[in-house]
Homo-oligomer: 99 residues x 2
């Protein structure tokens, strides 16, 4: 179970510290990788979460992969939209992630 | 001069197509790499620019590197802020970039 990759979906509705806390919980629970997934206007929040986590909480966390992508969605008024998607993969080096 | 890496700073003040056009101009001018640099709330726009460019204009463009970083700035009211920064490097394969 320690090899798990967990995903945190970053939205805009909650305060940024909620997502940081979610990541900390996952790392403390033994996850090796946590993927921050966000789309549209929440993308800058995902970058912020990664930065905050690295600066204030786990300085040993590494950003192992960043991916961008697009997702086609239909908006409420029926229009076809292409939303940008950003995925940031954070990794915790082995030595620190003993549960 | 063809080995040049150009940087486009993506802000929020201009329409998204302006940045796409700037990239196209640089690639057509012989640039091999164009770096989209953005910070704060403009980050999602940078991802959008990259997606749009790839989807609508140059399907052969590749995203060669994505980097996130933080930048310390002082806001207008004197507070210390940490802004997230995202840099997306786009590359044009050689065969297409003959000037």
């Amino acid at each position: 179970m320690t090899e798990a990759t967990k995903t945190v979906i970053v939205g805009q509705s909650k305060p940024i510290l909620n997502y940081v806390t979610a990541c900390i919980t996952m790392f403390n629970g033994g996850a090796d990788h946590v993927v921050l997934r966000s789309r549209g206007e929440a993308i800058n929040m995902a970058v912020d979460v990664a930065q905050l986590l690295k600066k204030r909480f786990f300085s040993q966390v590494q950003i192992s992969k960043i991916q961008i992508d697009g997702e086609d969605v239909v908006s409420r008024d029926g229009r076809q939209l292409s939303l940008p998607v950003l995925e940031i993969e954070l990794s915790m080096p082995k030595a620190q992630s003993t549960t």
